[in-house]
C-alpha cells in the first residue's frame, strides 16, 4: 500500500505526476458530487474544482515536515499533500478507513505524516493555529514553517487580522495563503469586501505580500517559494493571494445561480487543468491522447475505489468515545 508520504514525495520535481494528481482531484470531486447526489454521503461537502493548481503548487513547494492549517474545502488539499483517495473518500463516507476514522466527515481532513493539520470548519479557525505552529518552530529553532490556507471571505474575520499582526511583530515563519476564488458562500466578493486585491491588507501589518495566478502551478510555485524562503530564513511572514475561481457552487446544495453571466465561462478558459495540459503538451511531456487515456483510467479507478469504500467497515461504537482526552499524568 502506498503511504501518504510516498504519494507526496512522488510529486517533487515531476510535473507529469503533478498533473496526474490534478486529474485525480478533478475526477475525485466528480465522484464525490455523484455520491452525494445519490445519497451515499451525509451532511455537506465543499468541492475544490478549480483549486487544483494551488493545491499542487503548495504541496510541491512545502516540505512534508512543514505544516498547513486549511479549511472545510479540504479534498484538493488532502489529495495534493499525499492523503490517499481511499482515506479521503473513506472519511467523506464516514468509514473506519477514513483519515479521521469516519468521525470527522468531508470538512475534516488530517494526516500529520504529511503536515496536514485538522482542517477547520470555522472561518478563520486555522489562521492563529498556523501562526502558533510557526511560533513552535521559531522557539525550537526548526527550519519548518507553518502555512494557513483560507478563503477570500475569511479576510473579514477578526482571526485574520489578529494572526497577521501577531506573525508580523514576532516575525513568525508562517505563510498566509488566501485562496481568492471570488465568492464566500453565495456572496460575490464585491458585496462583502471593499477591496478585491486582498493581499494589500498585509500593508497595515508592514508584511510583504503578493498576488499570484492561482490557476497556473508554475506561478503558484514561484510566488509561494519566495514566501517560503523568506519564512525559512528568518524573514518573517508573507501574505500570498492566489487568484482563483470557484467552479462549483459553495456546497452541495448550491447551484450558484447568482453568478454574473459569462463569468464562469471566462474563468473556465483558465481552468488549471487546461493551463497545465497546454504547458505539458508544449513541452512535449504528454500528448492529447495520453491525457484522454489518463482521465479515463482515473475515472474508472476512482469509480472502482468508490464501490470498494462503500462496503468498507463502519467505525465501532467505541470510536465515539476515543481521542477526546487522556487522563492527567502530572500531579498526585
Amino acid at each position: 500500500m502506498t503511504t501518504s508520504l510516498e504519494r507526496r514525495n512522488a510529486l517533487y520535481g515531476n510535473d507529469l505526476a503533478c498533473y496526474e494528481r490534478m486529474v485525480e482531484i478533478r475526477e475525485f470531486e466528480k465522484i464525490t458530487n455523484a455520491l452525494f447526489a445519490a445519497g451515499s454521503i451525509r451532511g455537506t461537502t465543499h468541492l475544490a474544482v478549480g483549486q487544483e493548481a494551488l493545491a499542487l503548487g503548495m504541496a510541491t513547494t512545502l516540505k512534508p515536515t512543514d505544516v498547513i492549517a486549511g479549511t472545510y474545502r479540504s479534498h484538493a488539499l488532502a489529495l495534493a499533500f499525499g492523503l490517499t483517495p481511499h482515506s479521503v473518500l473513506g472519511e467523506i463516507m464516514g468509514k473506519a478507513t477514513g483519515c479521521c476514522g469516519g468521525v470527522g466527515g468531508s470538512m475534516h481532513m488530517c494526516d500529520t505524516s504529511v503536515g496536514v493539520l485538522p482542517t477547520s470548519a470555522i472561518i478563520g479557525g486555522g489562521m492563529p493555529i498556523a501562526a502558533g505552529a510557526a511560533l513552535a518552530f521559531q522557539v525550537q529553532k526548526s527550519k519548518n514553517i507553518g502555512v494557513a490556507l483560507f478563503g477570500d471571505g475569511a479576510t473579514n474575520i477578526g482571526a485574520f487580522h489578529e494572526s497577521l499582526n501577531l506573525a508580523a511583530i514576532w516575525k513568525l515563519p508562517v505563510v498566509f495563503i488566501c485562496d481568492n476564488n471570488v465568492y464566500g458562500e453565495y456572496s460575490r466578493i464585491n458585496t462583502t469586501t471593499p477591496i478585491e486585491d486582498l493581499h494589500k491588507r498585509a500593508e497595515s501589518f508592514a508584511m510583504p505580500h503578493m498576488a499570484i495566478d492561482g490557476m497556473d502551478i508554475h506561478a503558484v510555485r514561484k510566488g509561494i517559494s519566495e514566501a517560503v524562503d523568506r519564512a525559512r530564513s528568518g524573514g518573517g511572514p508573507t501574505l500570498v493571494e492566489a487568484k482563483t475561481y470557484r467552479f462549483s457552487g459553495h456546497s452541495r446544495a448550491d447551484q450558484a445561480l447568482y453568478r454574473p453571466e459569462g463569468e464562469l465561462e471566462k474563468w473556465q478558459k483558465r481552468d488549471p487543468l487546461l493551463v497545465t495540459e497546454q504547458d505539458l503538451i508544449a513541452r512535449k511531456l504528454i500528448t492529447q491522447d495520453q491525457i484522454d487515456q489518463m482521465k479515463s483510467t482515473m475515472e474508472s479507478d476512482l469509480g472502482a475505489l468508490a464501490k470498494k469504500v462503500e462496503s468498507d467497515p463502519e467505525p465501532e461504537l467505541s470510536a465515539m468515545f476515543s481521542n477526546i482526552w487522556t487522563p492527567a499524568k502530572a500531579g498526585k
Partner: protein, 336 residues
C-alpha cells in the same frame, strides 16, 4: 391556523414583527439576497428593503456587536448566526458586552436584540457544526435563552424574543426546519413560560427543542401517562410549572441534547430535589448525550442525542425502580 414548515414560521414571525415595528432590522450572512442558507428569510429583503435587511461579511463579532450597539440606540436588531458554533467568535459581544449593558448603565440602557442560531445534531455536519451549546449562555445573567420545538413555538417564541427589551438568544433545532405544523399567528409566548405538550399522572418529563418530540415518542412507546413539559425558555425557566407537575407525579426525567457535564438539566434536577424531596417517588435524573463531540458517521451520530427507544427504556426504569438507570453507554459497556 395556518400549516407551515418551521422555517416558514420563523419567516412569518420576523415579517410580522417587522411590519409591526419599523425599528426591527435584520442581518446576517447570506440572509438578504440569498434568503438564508436554511431559507429562514424568504421574501424578507423583498418586502422590507435593503436598509432594514442586510447581508453581512463573514464577521460575526462585528455584526453581532453592531446589533448590540444599534439596540442600545433604540433599534431592535435580529441577527442570524447560521450555525451556533459561529457565535464562538462573537462571544465577547454577547456574553460580556450585550448582557452587561443594562447593568453597567445603571438601568438607563437596554439591549433589545435577538440572536437566532441553528443548533443540533442529526444531519451529518460533523463536530464543528452540530452542537447545541445552550450552556454557553445559560449561565450568563442578563441573557434570555429560548428554544422552539415545533412550528407554533418557532413562531410564538421568535415574536416574543423580538418584542423583549433584553438580549434574547433563540436556538433553533436545525433538524426541525422542514417539519410542518399548524400555527396560530395570534399567539405570542410569554418568555419564561413552559408549555405542556402532554399531560399525565405517573411521571414528569422536561425537555427542550427537538428532545420534546423525542420524549413524546418515548412516552407513547413506553405506554405511560406522563406530563411532558416543553420548557421553551432555559433562562428564566418556568419553576412554577415544573414544580407543580413533579409535585403531582412524584417523578422527574429531564431530556437534554447536550453533554452530560454542565447541562441545564442539572439545575432543574437540583431545584426539584431540594424543594420536593419528600414528595419524590424515585430519584430525578437526566438523559443527556455522552460527554463526546458529535460524531460524523451516521450510525454513531444516531446514538449521540437521546433516542426515543432509550428514553422509553429509562422511563420504564423510573416507574419500576427508585434509583436512576445507567446511561446507555454504561449499560452497554461501551464507556464509563
Amino acid at each position: 391556523m395556518t400549516a407551515m414548515r418551521v422555517r416558514q414560521a420563523i419567516v412569518a414571525a420576523l415579517a410580522d414583527e417587522m411590519r409591526a415595528d419599523e425599528n426591527v432590522i435584520f442581518f446576517g450572512e447570506d440572509v438578504a439576497e440569498a434568503e438564508g442558507p436554511f431559507k429562514t428569510s424568504e421574501g424578507i429583503l423583498e418586502e422590507f428593503g435593503p436598509v432594514r435587511v442586510r447581508d453581512t461579511p463573514i464577521s460575526e463579532m462585528g455584526f453581532t456587536g453592531a446589533a448590540v450597539g444599534a439596540a442600545m440606540m433604540g433599534l431592535k436588531p435580529v441577527v442570524e448566526i447560521m450555525f451556533i458554533e459561529f457565535l464562538g467568535v462573537a462571544l465577547d459581544q454577547v456574553v460580556t458586552e450585550g448582557a452587561k449593558m443594562r447593568y453597567l448603565s445603571n438601568g438607563t440602557l437596554s439591549v433589545p436584540m435577538t440572536i437566532r442560531a441553528s443548533v443540533g445534531s442529526g444531519l451529518g455536519f460533523g463536530c464543528q457544526h452540530s452542537q447545541t451549546l445552550e450552556h454557553w449562555f445559560a449561565s450568563t445573567p442578563g441573557l434570555k435563552v429560548l428554544m422552539p420545538s415545533d412550528a407554533q413555538s418557532a413562531y410564538s417564541l421568535l415574536r416574543a424574543a423580538i418584542q423583549d427589551p433584553d438580549p434574547v438568544i433563540v436556538l433553533e433545532p436545525r433538524i426541525l426546519y422542514a417539519e410542518r405544523g399548524e400555527v396560530d399567528t395570534s399567539k405570542v409566548t410569554k418568555i419564561g413560560k413552559a408549555s405542556m405538550r402532554a399531560t399525565g399522572s405517573d411521571i414528569t418529563i422536561v425537555a427542550l427543542g427537538h428532545m420534546v418530540n423525542i420524549a413524546e415518542a418515548a412516552i407513547k412507546a413506553a405506554g405511560v401517562s406522563a406530563d411532558l413539559v416543553d420548557l421553551q425558555t432555559i433562562i428564566p425557566w418556568d419553576r412554577e410549572t415544573v414544580l407543580a407537575s413533579v409535585k403531582k407525579t412524584g417523578r422527574l426525567i429531564v431530556v437534554e441534547e447536550a453533554p452530560q457535564s454542565g447541562g441545564w438539566g442539572s439545575e432543574i434536577v437540583a431545584t426539584v430535589t431540594a424543594q420536593l424531596f419528600s414528595s419524590l417517588k424515585s430519584a430525578p435524573f437526566r438523559i443527556t448525550t455522552p460527554d463526546v463531540p458529535v460524531p460524523f458517521n451516521g450510525g454513531l451520530e444516531a446514538r449521540f442525542a437521546p433516542t426515543s427507544d432509550d428514553v422509553a427504556r429509562q422511563i420504564k426504569h423510573a416507574l419500576s425502580q427508585s434509583g436512576a438507570p445507567q446511561p446507555w453507554w454504561v449499560a452497554e459497556g461501551v464507556a464509563k
